[in-house]
Symmetry: C2
Subunit: 336 residues, 2 copies
DNA sequence: TAAAGATACGAAAACGATTAAGTAATAAAA
DNA sequence: TTTTATTACTTAATCGTTTTCGTATCTTTA
């Protein structure tokens, strides 16, 4: 590896001069700068990030904390898409992305915070984790810049999908199609779910809809089997709904199967909607009516906010960015 | 941040002693070691990876090169799953994962190799990229340990899904169900596709199947729209097939839609199969018959091989690891 | 013409760790 | 008892940068 020393030698200047030339300091003569830069390029020089980080205490490295049942949130369409957009944006600003080790069964492992310090990470994006995990809390309480996705912590930057508007839009749409008996199979008890539920009931009230308790049941996100069970349970009611809201697109597909298995047709016999707007929604038949979350904006905004927090901590306002989704009209809701 | 200096001061020893104690060198007294370790823990010490990397030239950091239409391969189910398993395994061995910046439109950007050197990456996993990209070739030709997924380079470690056996199993299965008129909508011209095609024709010959040229057409991986087009083209043939093999599960869903739109039923009127075995395959109705690629093994083996290459370059055999997939029998192929 | 300022560079310390080489002090061998 | 090993440390150099503080040379200004 060619270092500044080599360039200094080749150019007959000191290492300090090389450093300053490459960093465009103003106390180096113009022709010297040019000469040094050219030699650097010729010799194939690239800085050593470790040395630089050691000296400047800046790693230009951002941590990613994604955990799900499969250890990382990578196979989770929605979060993978947010991460993707996040990655593109931080890279534009010269940062790299490193995974925070979340392999809890390792010997000698560090906590998330310890790991972040070890790698000199300048900030962390947290998504798709159990937010009550003590290690997550340790991270959130630290002085490290942090942005969370779809979860609110006091005094911490967060980027949220607008679940309130999402559910409201969905319910309004279903109502406008003429439905009055609407069930909601919601996900497990998380802040996202709670927000959606609140919005669901509030919107129902606005619309003067009567929602029997049996119409609102807990399902599981992204679980086909369990969703089929719950769907059947709802359909077995003496007075079944004419439309079901599922926790997400994937479980909606599960619901679809349960419905088809009963010989019912979507949307003639029963209407359904999903949530997320992942690719599968538009690929199945009938196309699923759903809320497409704006993962691209979410990732970008999260990145911008985090970088701002890193680079100008004083002047950056801690806020909760809420990103609206968009209703995607498929063919899964009938007009009544 | 507390450094070795602080611990040395607190323990009344030199920094060197601290370092050796923490790294368990044998020339430090047992009680001194214990004392130092305890103080380190109490003071909340964690090593500084930059300093260590600078000095030892070992970063314990591995690069990930994943590119797809959405900039990274993250939203690609199959590859995300491989990466996930890869990540778990490298973390078990104390390595971290950093993305290689693949934002081609950045000013001042480095090539993949330059970026790897800059970050001191010790090895790279390459997947889901255009393998004829000059930058990829530069990386592959370098002295950096590299493992590729689903692509072969001379003298380079590769982990491949067994596409030959996969297609063969699939064709045998379809044949055993009584089908004789089998079409193959294959993906774009890549090495994976070529392998599958060779296997398709060879197996057809084994089975004495006659495959008219019109039955083998180029589709696109993971493209719903285009697949629908091609599917219709095949179904419009004067003598249409009774079963269609699609390039992957996602495009199979596209094909399904085209078939349904014609008023045909799967599998009564026409049978179909996919490839990949991603989650959607088992969630749609009818369940898709497909080849589930063993992404978990692929990721794990890729990690083990790469680490072996890093830690004992001399004794590590460069080889092409081939991982078998498994036929998943759904309900999308009828018995004739 | 002397003092002050500007310009262009260099010397050296520092970041936090690792490690080869050296050195006391003690134990074992001659 | 002297020599040699062994043990348990320390010293100091080093990795590749950045940055503060000098300093020599040249240009202005009084």
């Amino acid at each position: 590896m060619v270092s500044m020393k080599d360039i200094a030698l080749a150019c007959n200047v000191s290492v300090a001069t090389v450093s300053k030339a490459l960093n465009n300091h103003k106390d180096i003569g113009e022709e010297t700068k040019v000469r040094i830069r050219e030699t650097a390029k010729e010799m194939g020089y690239f800085p050593n990030s470790s040395a630089r980080a050691l000296r400047t205490n800046r790693s230009y490295n951002i941590g990613v904390l994604f955990v799900d049942e499969a250890q990382s949130g990578l196979t989770h369409d929605y979060f993978a898409s947010v991460l993707d957009s996040f990655k593109v944006t931080v890279e534009k600003h010269g940062y790299d992305l490193t995974f925070i080790n979340c392999n809890k069964d390792n010997k000698n492992r560090m906590s998330y915070l310890e790991h972040s310090r070890y790698r000199g990470l300048e900030g962390v994006i947290i998504a798709c984790v159990p937010f009550d995990d003590p290690e997550v809390l340790e991270l959130v309480k630290s002085d490290l810049p942090v942005v969370t996705i779809d979860h609110l912590f006091d005094n911490r930057m967060a980027v949220m999908s607008d679940n309130v508007k999402g559910i409201s839009d969905l319910l309004h749409y279903i109502y406008d199609q003429g439905h009055r008996k609407i069930a909601y199979i919601h996900g497990q008890n998380t802040s996202v779910t709670r927000n959606r539920l609140v919005s669901f009931y509030r919107t129902a009230e606005e619309l003067s809809l009567i929602i029997p308790d049996e119409y609102v049941v807990e399902g599981k996100y992204r679980e086909v089997k369990h969703t089929q069970l719950v769907t059947n349970q709802v359909l077995d009611l003496p007075d079944p709904p004419t439309c079901i809201i599922f926790p997400d697109d994937l479980s909606a597909v599960g619901g679809m199967n349960a419905i088809n298995a009963r010989g019912l047709n979507i949307p003639q016999d029963i209407s359904i909607v999903g949530y997320d707007g992942i690719s599968i929604a538009s690929r199945i038949e009938p196309k699923l009516t759903t809320i497409r979350q704006d993962t691209k904006s979410m990732g970008r905004r999260a990145a911008e906010k985090l970088i701002s927090l890193i680079e100008k901590p004083k002047s950056t306002l801690i806020e909760h960015v809420v990103i609206e989704g968009k209703l995607i009209e498929g063919k899964s809701v009938s007009k009544r």
